[in-house]
C-alpha cells in the first residue's frame, strides 16, 4: 500500500481521543465456541466421534492393562511372596550338569526364619495314558518325585482327591498337576483313573489346582520319593527345592540359600523368587497392548484431521459471519481465538465421551474377568488432554485462515 505524505504526517496528537482496544473475554470466547457449534450440532457430534473412539481405545487399553496388573498383584498377595526356589545352575566347568547334594533340603530347613522346605526331583521315566500308546506320546507330562511336605510348603490346593499318603503303600499312587490332568484326560469324578508310568500302572489319587508360583508342577505327575527310590532308582538329589520363609527375612534367607544348599560350590546354585518373575511379567507391556495403543493413536489422528477438515469448510461457509464480526470490532486475533475454541470444544466433547466410553469398557471387561477394577486417573486426564492437543493442532490451520480473511472480502454476500 502506498502511504501518502498526508497520511504519514498525521499521528496521535491530531487524533481527538485515544482509541479503546477491542477485547474478547475468556468467557465470551468460550461462549462463541459453544454457540458456533450450536448451529451445526449434528456435524459437531459426528466430528467428535473420531476423537472419542481414539481416546476410548487408549483409555480402555491403559485401564485394562492396569486392572490386569492389579489382578496379578492381588493374586500374588493371596499366594504370598515369601517363597524361594533353589535349583542347580550352570556348571562353571561347563561339562556335566550340576546337581544339588541330597542333604541340601535338610540343611536349608535348619536356616533361621525358614518355615518350610520341600523338594522335587526330575525322574527319567515316561508317563502315558495307557501302555498301548507309543512312548513318545507323553502329552508333555513329566514325572517328578515329590516330598510329602511339598503341598503344604507351597500352600497349594488339590482340586480333587487327596495328596500322596506318607509311608509305603501296597500299590503305587500318583498326583497330577492341573494342566497334566487336562491333557491326559484324567477326571477323578469319572471313577478310578490309571496312568502307565515306566512299566507299570499307577493309580491317580489327586489332581492339583493350578500353581502360579510353581508352574512346573502344573505339567507334572508326582510320585512319592519312596516309590521313586524303589521303582526308578532315585538317588536323593533334588532338582528343585521349594522354601518358604518369614516375609520380613526374605532377603537374608536368599543371601545364604545358595551356600547352604551346596557349601562346596555355591556358584552352581540358582536361587530365584517366583513372585518376582510374575510381577515382572505383569509389568511388561505386551506387544498387543502397544498395538492397541497405536491404533488408538491413529484413530485420534484421524479424528483430528476430521476436525480440521470440517473447520476449513466451516470457515468458507461462515465468511460473512467473519466479515460481520470484523465490522463489529473483532481483531484478527479474536477471529482466530473463536475458531480455535470451536475446535477445542469439539475435541473436548470427543475427549470426554471417549474417556467415559473407555472407562465403561475397562469396568465391563474387568467385571467379566473378575479383576479388581483399576481406572488410572492420570490416564483419564491424559485422555482429555490428548484430545485437546489434537483439537488445538487441528484448529490451528482453519483458525488462521479465518483470521487472514480481509474484512472487505468477508462482508461480500456469499
Amino acid at each position: 500500500m502506498t502511504v501518502s505524505p498526508v497520511a504519514s504526517g498525521v499521528d496521535e496528537q491530531q487524533q481527538p481521543r485515544r482509541l479503546q482496544r477491542s477485547v474478547l473475554t475468556f468467557r465470551d470466547a468460550l461462549g462463541l465456541g459453544v454457540v458456533g457449534l450450536r448451529g451445526r450440532r449434528g456435524r459437531a457430534l459426528l466430528t467428535s466421534v473420531g476423537i472419542a473412539i481414539g481416546i476410548a481405545a487408549i483409555v480402555a487399553v491403559i485401564g485394562i492393562s492396569a486392572s490386569s496388573k492389579a489382578n496379578v498383584l492381588a493374586v500374588l498377595d493371596q499366594l504370598g511372596t515369601n517363597y524361594l526356589t533353589v535349583t542347580p545352575g550352570q556348571s562353571l566347568a561347563g561339562d556335566d550338569t550340576p546337581q544339588l547334594p541330597p542333604d541340601s533340603v535338610g540343611r536349608l530347613s535348619l536356616l533361621d526364619h525358614v518355615q518350610s522346605v520341600a523338594a522335587t526331583a526330575h525322574l527319567d521315566v515316561i508317563v502315558r495314558r495307557s501302555d498301548q500308546m507309543p512312548p513318545t506320546n507323553t502329552r508333555g507330562t513329566v514325572v517328578l518325585a515329590a516330598e510329602p511336605d511339598l503341598l503344604t510348603t507351597l500352600n497349594g490346593h488339590l482340586r480333587s482327591g487327596h495328596w500322596l499318603a506318607a509311608g509305603p503303600r501296597s500299590y503305587p499312587t500318583v498326583v497330577i498337576g492341573a494342566t497334566a490332568a487336562r491333557r491326559q484326560g484324567v477326571d477323578l469324578a469319572a471313577g478310578d483313573q490309571l496312568l502307565w508310568i515306566g512299566d507299570q500302572w499307577f493309580a491317580v489319587v489327586g489332581v492339583l489346582d493350578a500353581m502360579p508360583l510353581a508352574p512346573e508342577l502344573d505339567n507334572a505327575a508326582l510320585i512319592s520319593t519312596e516309590v521313586a527310590t524303589q521303582k526308578f532308582g532315585y538317588q536323593g538329589s533334588p532338582t528343585t527345592v521349594y522354601l518358604r520363609a518369614s516375609p520380613a527375612d526374605m532377603d537374608g534367607v536368599r543371601d545364604v540359600a545358595a551356600a547352604t544348599a551346596d557349601p562346596t560350590s555355591p556358584q552352581e546354585v540358582d536361587v530365584t523368587r517366583p513372585s518376582d518373575a510374575l510381577e515382572a511379567r505383569a509389568a511388561t507391556d505386551t506387544a498387543f497392548t502397544t498395538l492397541l495403543l497405536g491404533l488408538g493413536g491413529v484413530a485420534l489422528l484421524v479424528g483430528g484431521v476430521g476436525i480440521a477438515n470440517v473447520m476449513v469448510i466451516s470457515v468458507l461457509e461462515r465468511r460473512n459471519e467473519i466479515g460481520v464480526r470484523r465490522a463489529l470490532g473483532a481483531t484478527r486475533r479474536h477471529i482466530r481465538t473463536q475458531f480455535l475454541v470451536e475446535a477445542l470444544v469439539q475435541a473436548a466433547l470427543g475427549g470426554v465421551a471417549g474417556v467415559a466410553l473407555g472407562t465403561a469398557i475397562t469396568v465391563g471387561y474387568g467385571l467379566s474377568m473378575d479383576w479388581p477394577i483399576e481406572v488410572p486417573f492420570a490416564g483419564l486426564a491424559g485422555g482429555v488432554l490428548a484430545a485437546l492437543v489434537v483439537g488445538g493442532l487441528a484448529g490451528l490451520y482453519p483458525a488462521s485462515r479465518a483470521a487472514r480473511l480481509e474484512p472487505a472480502q468477508a462482508v461480500r454476500p456469499i
Partner: protein, 231 residues
C-alpha cells in the same frame, strides 16, 4: 454540527489485475456530524468499494481516509478493529445476521468486542430492538423473521453501540417497495435523533429521501446535491 465524521481526500482504490481496475478515482468527500448522505450510482460505479473504505474494512491505494478523526493509514489491525467497533455501525444489503443467534444476541454481538458486560449487553440490545420497533421479537431467530424485520435487527445492531457514523449498503435492496419505505422511515427517524448516516443505493427514489445526495460514476463523484428539506 460542524465536526467532520468522515473525510476522504484524493482517495484512489485500484484493484490489481490485468488491466488493473480503478474502482475509485481521486474521490473527495466530507461528512459532518448529524448529516444524512445518500451515495447513488449505477452498478459497478464503485459504491461498495467506497463504503468499504468509509468503514475501514479496506485501505485506499492512495489518498487519505479519516474516520472520526483517525487516519486509517496509521492504524494497525488492532486499532482499525477498535475504530470499527467503537465509531462505526454497518447495515448490509443481505442483513448478515448470524443464523444460530437470536435477534437480541445478534444485536448484543456489537457490544461483545467493546468489553461490555453480558448483563448490560442484554439490556442495551433489548432497548435497541425496541427503538427499531421490534421489542416483541427479541427471542426470535433470523429464520423466524421477515426480511423487513431482519433488516430492523441489523439496524438495531448498527445502532446499539451509539457509533459516530452508520454506513448502510443497499439496505432496502432485498426488500419490497413498502417494506423498503418503512426502513427508510426508520432511517429518517434515526437521523432526526442525531445519528450520522451514509446510505448507498442505486435507486433514485431511495436517494431522494436523503437531504444530501452524492452521485458517483466510474469511480468518480460527478455531482453533489444538497437541499434544505428534511423528511
Amino acid at each position: 454540527m460542524t465536526r467532520p465524521v468522515l473525510e476522504l481526500v484524493d482517495v484512489v482504490r485500484q484493484y490489481p489485475g490485468s488491466p488493473p481496475v480503478r474502482a475509485l478515482d481521486r474521490v473527495n468527500l466530507t461528512v459532518l456530524t448529524g448529516e444524512w448522505v445518500a451515495v447513488i450510482g449505477p452498478s459497478g460505479s464503485g459504491k461498495s468499494t467506497l463504503l468499504n473504505l468509509m468503514g475501514a474494512l479496506d485501505q485506499p491505494t492512495s489518498g487519505t481516509v479519516r474516520i472520526d478523526g483517525y487516519d486509517v493509514a496509521g492504524l494497525d489491525d488492532e486499532r482499525l478493529s477498535a475504530l470499527r467497533g467503537h465509531s462505526l455501525g454497518f447495515v448490509f444489503q443481505s442483513f448478515h445476521l448470524l443464523a444460530s443467534l437470536t435477534a437480541w444476541e445478534n444485536v448484543a454481538t456489537a457490544l461483545v468486542y467493546r468489553g461490555v458486560p453480558a448483563a448490560e449487553r442484554r439490556d442495551r440490545a433489548a432497548a435497541a430492538m425496541t427503538r427499531v420497533g421490534l421489542g416483541h421479537r427479541i427471542g426470535h431467530r433470523p429464520a423466524q423473521l421477515s426480511g423487513g424485520e431482519c433488516q430492523r435487527v441489523a439496524i438495531a445492531r448498527a445502532l446499539v453501540g451509539e457509533p459516530a457514523l452508520v454506513l448502510a449498503d443497499e439496505p432496502t435492496g432485498n426488500l419490497d417497495t413498502r417494506t423498503g419505505e418503512e426502513i427508510m422511515g426508520l432511517f429518517r427517524e434515526l437521523n432526526g435523533d442525531g445519528t450520522t448516516l451514509v446510505l448507498i443505493t442505486h435507486d433514485p427514489a431511495i436517494a431522494a429521501s436523503a437531504p444530501r445526495r452524492v452521485r458517483i460514476r466510474d469511480g468518480r463523484i460527478v455531482a453533489s446535491e444538497l437541499d434544505g428539506v428534511t423528511g
